[in-house]
Amino acid sequence: MTKELITGAELIVRSLEHLNVSTVFGVPGGAILPAYDPLYDSPIRHILARHEQGAGHMAEGYAQATGELGVVIATSGPGATNLITPLANALMDSTPLLAITGQVASTAIGNDAFQEAYTVGLSMAATKHNYLITDASEIPQVLKEAKYIATSGRPGPVLVDVPKDILNQKTGWVEPKDLDLPGYKPTLEPNPKMIQQAANLIKSSKKPILYVGGGIIHSNSHKELYDLATTYNIPVVTTLMGRGAFPDGHELCLEMPGMHGNYTATTSIQDSDLLIAIGVRFDDRVTANPDFFAQNAKVIHADIDPAEIGKVREAQVPIVGDAKNVLIGLTEALKGSELDTASWINDLREMKKNFPLNYDQKDDGPLKVPYVLEQLQNLTEEEAVVVSGVGQHQMWISQHWNFTEPNTWLNSGGLGTMGYSLPAAIGAQTAFPDKLVLALDGDGCFQMTCQELITASTENIPIKVVVFNNGNHGMVRQWQKIFYNSKFSASELTHHTPDYVKLAESMGAVGLRMTKKDDVKKIFTEMLNINDKPVLIDCVVDPDDMVFPMVPAGGSNDQIIMNKEDLKQL
């Protein structure tokens, strides 16, 4: 029997179909063109972004909302270099991503050919792994490996670079073999001895804190976390990447700790005698100066990535394993024990009462972001997917939005990538056409990728965008106010600001504006009633507001700045 001959390009499309990829995001170009030809005939949906960075963030948003692989396609040279930011972003936030890039013909590689960039080299430090295909017959196997590497262990981005001649090379379908990756064997099952040691520490702790993050969401173990925390009465802090892993509003939920965390969450760690850290990496935005971080606490640190354990803080009990297995193991090992945490929980309850998050919305004053957020959440009945930019608005959302389910809070935590929100929201809405997807963005961030609004209109992706228009790189302004004598160097956006309403309209979206308290309900209601196209609200807010609490970078979490008054002590 002679094999049917197909091209490398067809092998890519067929492999993606075999790997159950239903949607890809991308921008075509010379080197990747052969792949776009069979893609046109495939049931896979391709969403044409306006910029490869946008396409990358869309794939990330898709992956973060679903927990599944996101796929992005770009051409060689500038297409690939434009992908570096989303790749680095996905690496930092452990998002499973597959990037397929075209490359100049293998005969031209190294000759500075037109649109040649050393994509494998450029992306090496921004990916979990990458490949250069040297023969079309490798494609099915490599793509199978790439998906496995991207989605297993600690998830991350994998890039596959394919020269144009290989896309055109004719070969037969090669059924991928079982995976053989001798250097890649993620440890999923925790060592039972370590689980036992951890359980022993927990049993004797009076002030335990479950310090949990993105690992809970990646391992889909929010239920197991809930069981552990509620069965044994252990308070929980959820990091920026872990918001939604444990429901806000639950009496054990202390929400976000750290630089802009709430007082109780940050302080609970400082006062704790035992940190049960699961799927977190002791990021500097949580720890501030690690020398002053949780000085009285022993540490149990569980992570699927052994390199995270002991990187920042020594762990008395290191546990390598999948968060789900760790949580199940701990719950099991603690069976029958009753922790003596009642007075600890009581202290924390008091603390919450005494140090609430607050804001001051005057009836006739400028809009405050926290107020606007609360109003919006009150009006949304279903659990929305909230996608944020980077800056003050991001911190306010994390502080004030009530997250009760995993995968409903998408943001760029590790890299802090401005421009993430709008395209990531498009990706999330693509995965869930019927869900309410909110891109809650800053005006600075929005201007970095706003062209993707056209993608949303063209593709009938009815995201709702709220641009918090404070006319400033607000977070930069806040730092300049505190640390640079209010010298607002290059942080003002007001001199030439786009008319966001007109901008939205020119891009096929509905544009609305709110400027005062009376507008909020009306305009949001109007927004929520539009479901056939994207909507954008120009939400004009106080240009001079600041996010509190705050612990300055490198400071001690024992010294939390609660308000403007406290700043004077600096």
Binding site: V120, G121, M124, A125, K128, H129, L132, I149, L181, P182, G183, Y184, D305, P306, A307, G310, K311
Partner: protein, 157 residues
Amino acid sequence: MSERILSVLVEDKPGVLARVSSTISRRGFNINSLSVGPTHIEGRSKMTIVTELDAVEQVKKQLNKLVNVIKIVELDPEMTIETEVLLLKVSINKDTQTSVIEKANLSSAKSVDVGQDYAIFEMTGSSKELNKFEKLMKPFGIIEMVRGGRIAIQSNL
């Protein structure tokens, strides 16, 4: 700080050297010596990396994350056989020729090429021995010297 020797078994795949060295330099660590070569197993190479770091644990963990890195063993200096190779070109003349060759012989360096005004020696041994030989040759005028490829093996694995 003392030297640490890592013996790293890797898949013989394109780019693996770049991945390993960039992982190390990305975390801000220096490499004193790095050598790569084939092993007796097909498709597997061995890297010997000599570094001076306190944070060797972190480097090991980061290297272990590389998909092409199969196994990392930190060699115990007490039980390690280590060798390095040197090629040294030194000036000679009628007056110094005998003395240079005598010193080389005593150091068990092998002369591989002798011309009218130069001699080239090859030597393998510990870094210390090679240092010593270099010092011996210095007064005669070293024209060029190449060293490298520190490799190591554990004596009873």
